[in-house]
Amino acid sequence: MSDKSGLTLFLDGEEVPFTRGESIFQVSERHEKEIPTLCYDDRLDAFGGCRLCVVELEGARNPVASCTTKAEAGMRVTTRSGKLEMHRRVLLELVVSENREVDVDELSGYASQEMATLVDRYEARTGRFEGRQSGASRPDDPNPFILRDYDNCISCYRCVRVCAEQEGDYAISIMGRGFDTQITTEFGGILKESACTFCGQCIQTCPTGALGDIKALRHKEIELPIEKTRSICIYCGVGCSVDIMTKGDKIVGILPAMDGPANEGALCVKGQFAFDFVHHPDRLKTPFVRDDQGELVPATWDDALDKAAAGLMAAVNEHGRHSLYAIASGRAPNEAGFMMQKLVRAGLGTSYIDNCSRA
């Protein structure tokens, strides 16, 4: 039970170990206490803005934010009580009342359901504070990737923090206070004219869908469940893990995989948004062979394979096995390259093979 350091605290009466530097929230999470959060993203520095994560601390007059309070030996922490639950509910109601809508489409982004889920958990769907909304949307930003609907912004600053801490891009910042708070670019302009690299990290951390994935949201109307398939981005050697979102036979969007070993939740504009080439009408859908007129015309697999085999073997038979050369792809999977080199080696006994690494 106790680790090397021997540090322990009491969590809802139970003595539990922790390591120096951990927050009360982190310790609680490890022990499966369901403390609600809104401004928290475990990849970012704790911020302490939403106060949803408050817990009671023996000896402290007021509840403390568990995400920003470091665990200390001997602490006695209560994560759940009638008073805490009431406080959380009131906070949520306040937040809800400021927003135009609670239920945003799941396609909006990775964390987009966080608020709606909490609102349901705390039955906080009322209109008690109906009135002013914070933030103003930016329908004038014509960028095709990032929806900026600040009517749904709750000022958790996760987007600003992910952009700064995770991306190091500092494209967006906070302007004003209270109800007038705005998330904005340096000169208040559109994202394209800012330092934004369109990595999409802000939309993926937004807990309300105020920032949303425009390309994915185009598929909102397809009434099929979203399925997710873990794969790897195909655009560079970093090898970021992604979850491909599909509806039926269609790829509708990409989610960064938070547990991806190479990227730990990060992506760039290509990995995040350049996926729809897969369904582009230009895709080759059948084999093609050159006919007698010299035109490339559609063919069956059988014909095309026979014609290709005959053409390649004609060269080999006439000019020897060193007359066939194979160029493998630096983009196709390992199995493709393996098969290409096996074809020349096991088939012809040569090493007449290369890939695109030299150019």
Binding site: G168, K192, C199, I214, T229, R230, S231, I232, I234, G237, G239, C240, I244, T246, D249, I251, N263, A266, V269, F277, V278, H280, R283, L284, K285, P287, V289, W301, A304, K307, A308, E318, H319, S323, Y325, A326, I327, A328, R331, A332, P333, N334, E335, A336, G337, F338, M339, Q341, K342, L343, R345, A346, G347, T350, S351, I353, D354, C356, S357, R358
Partner: protein
């Protein structure tokens, strides 16, 4: 990479050379940014003022193709100032004495004459890297795509060896591989010199091993590189099988390349789209792509990961491995009956020492970095921790060599090429993904504002840019990202086929094309729209 990606948050001194990481490997760059936030210092050496330069403590804006001179100058300072890691040199390296003697000749002043960087800056950079507790080097094609690419890499190795910056957390020599599976293509043996797992074809023991596995003896002679094969097209090489490469657009010297492909008796291409290269083929096979097929791919830190099928393939398209295995069978070759990517991958593992401890199921979560020499081995996130693969790290006596072409009166401007954040390679994929055009609608030639006025051209105006091999028409963008006398553009846009111009020379060892340097002249276009590419 000698070190894992996560080590990128650990160095106290970062040395990036010939890598435009914020655009080409953006997610890796975020890790360097974190290291910098934690106090790491960064040296950036690049002919252009790139994204990384904005964050650097020292910027070495060197003339294209002069990396070896710069690195010799740095080695000189490290030696002179006694910043050499004597213990490491004694225990782990060979030829150190000769090397330390060799570099005495190459003062920062000498290097400065060639690379154009202020000697004081060279000195400063050398001291910073030389004194690092954990110094890490990152590089990309800006180092390798030169006639002296091998020398450049060796020069970086020399620096790391003399300072003992290898084999530990946050150190290393880290090439950032460009294409998503260019690492894998080498791993699986799609190279003329090695079987899968980098087992040389010249070794009779390997020949015997593969003869036993595949029932056919493979020549002990090396194959030839793609560069040679294209040269011999129509001659010794009569037929080609190309998988997923738009050779015509991405290779240097497009005219030569087009001629080569056209002079073949027979060309077979597999691809997702009817690329410029596929359009020349006799038979084109439709390959299935991202999200449509299962497979594996190996990243720049040697991590083997699974690609998964999420949707049915477009039309009748098929996985590349299936196409090639079917073709092999029809060509009458034995041993090409496979039912799944899993079977293929498991055969690869059974034949490759580096993948020996892996199989399809084991790499489900991608936690292994090769070498994984046997079952139960945890993988090797960091190379060279206790020893080098061939025993000792050997210093090489590098000298500076000029690029294949240097500027002269006829071609007075340096052209260097590269990639941009928003587009990938020949844009067969990014160009067909919606929205990308909003960010990057066209290719522009980046020219220093002073050159724009000096050359009598206009920001936003059209120019003709020609080399000894051809010419292209392109619009100008004035930007201080380019130094004076050097211009930049990417090779991604088909309407600006910049590889018409490149291809001045090749590294004699690897035959890698010198895509990063070519000399050009730039002329205002007189008749609007009058001049087309070549």
């Amino acid at each position: 990479m000698s070190n894992p990606l996560r080590d990128m948050e650990k160095p106290d001194v970062i040395f990036c050379i010939g890598t435009n990481m914020t655009e080409c490997h953006p997610v890796a760059a975020t890790r360097l940014k974190k290291a910098i936030r934690n106090g790491a210092k960064m040296i950036v050496a690049d002919p252009r003022h790139i994204g990384l330069s904005d964050m650097a403590d020292i910027n070495l804006q060197l003339r294209v193709g002069s990396d070896a001179a710069l690195l010799l100058g740095m080695a000189h300072v490290i030696q002179r100032e006694g910043l050499v890691d004597a213990g490491f040199i004694a225990d782990r390296t060979a030829e150190a004495e000769a090397f330390l003697e060799h570099v005495k000749e190459f003062t920062p002043e000498w290097a400065s004459e060639i690379c154009g960087v202020d000697p004081a800056l060279i000195e400063e950079a050398a001291l910073l890297y030389g004194r690092a507790e954990r110094g890490a080097i990152y590089y990309t094609l800006g180092i390798t795509e030169h006639i002296c690419g091998v020398d450049n890499v060796q020069s970086l190795c020399n620096l790391a060896l003399m300072t003992g910056n290898i084999g530990r957390e946050g150190t290393g020599i880290n090439p950032m591989r460009g294409q998503n599976n260019i690492q894998g293509a080498g791993d699986v043996g799609a190279i003329p010199n090695n079987y899968p797992g980098f087992q040389p074809v010249t070794d009779p023991a390997n020949q015997a091993k593969f003869a036993k596995a595949w029932g056919r003896e493979v020549d002990l002679e090396l194959g030839i590189t793609k560069v040679r094969a294209l040269e011999q097209a129509g001659d010794q090489i009569r037929a080609m099988l190309i998988d997923g490469e738009n050779t015509l657009v991405t290779d240097p010297d497009r005219k030569h390349c087009e001629h080569a492909l056209k002079s073949l008796d027979f060309l077979v291409v597999c691809d997702l789209f009817l690329t410029e290269t596929a359009a020349l083929a006799d038979v084109v096979f439709p390959a299935s792509g991202f999200g449509e097929t299962d497979g594996t791919q190996t990243n720049t830190e040697r991590r083997v990961q699974r690609l998964r099928k999420a949707v049915p393939p477009a039309g009748e398209s098929k996985p590349d491995w299936w196409i090639v295995s079917q073709l092999a069978q029809r060509m009458g070759f034995k041993g090409f009956e496979y039912d799944s990517a899993k079977e293929v991958f498991n055969e690869l593992c059974s034949l490759s020492g580096t993948y020996a401890g892996l199989n399809w199921d084991r790499i489900e979560f991608g936690e292994y970095q090769w070498p994984v020499p046997e079952d139960g081995h945890p993988g090797t996130p960091r190379l060279h921790e206790d020893s080098f693969i061939n025993g000792r790290g050997i210093f090489k006596m590098i000298r500076y060599r000029d690029p294949a072409e240097t500027i002269d009166d006829d071609y007075p401007v340096w052209l260097t090429t590269g990639r941009r954040l928003e587009s990938y390679h020949s844009r067969t994929q990014t160009g067909r993904s919606s929205g990308i055009d909003y960010l990057l609608p066209e290719e522009l030639l980046e020219v220093h504002p002073d050159d724009v006025s000096a050359w009598g051209i206009r920001d936003g105006g059209w120019v003709n840019m020609s080399s000894r091999r051809g010419s292209v028409r392109i619009r100008v963008k004035a930007t201080k990202r380019s130094p004076r006398g050097t211009v930049f553009c990417s090779f991604s846009f088909n309407d600006v086929p910049v590889n018409v111009l490149t291809g001045s020379g090749y590294d004699p060892v690897t035959e890698t094309a010198e895509l990063k340097v070519c000399t050009v002249k730039i002329e205002v276009e007189t008749e609007t729209g009058g001049v087309a590419a070549d």
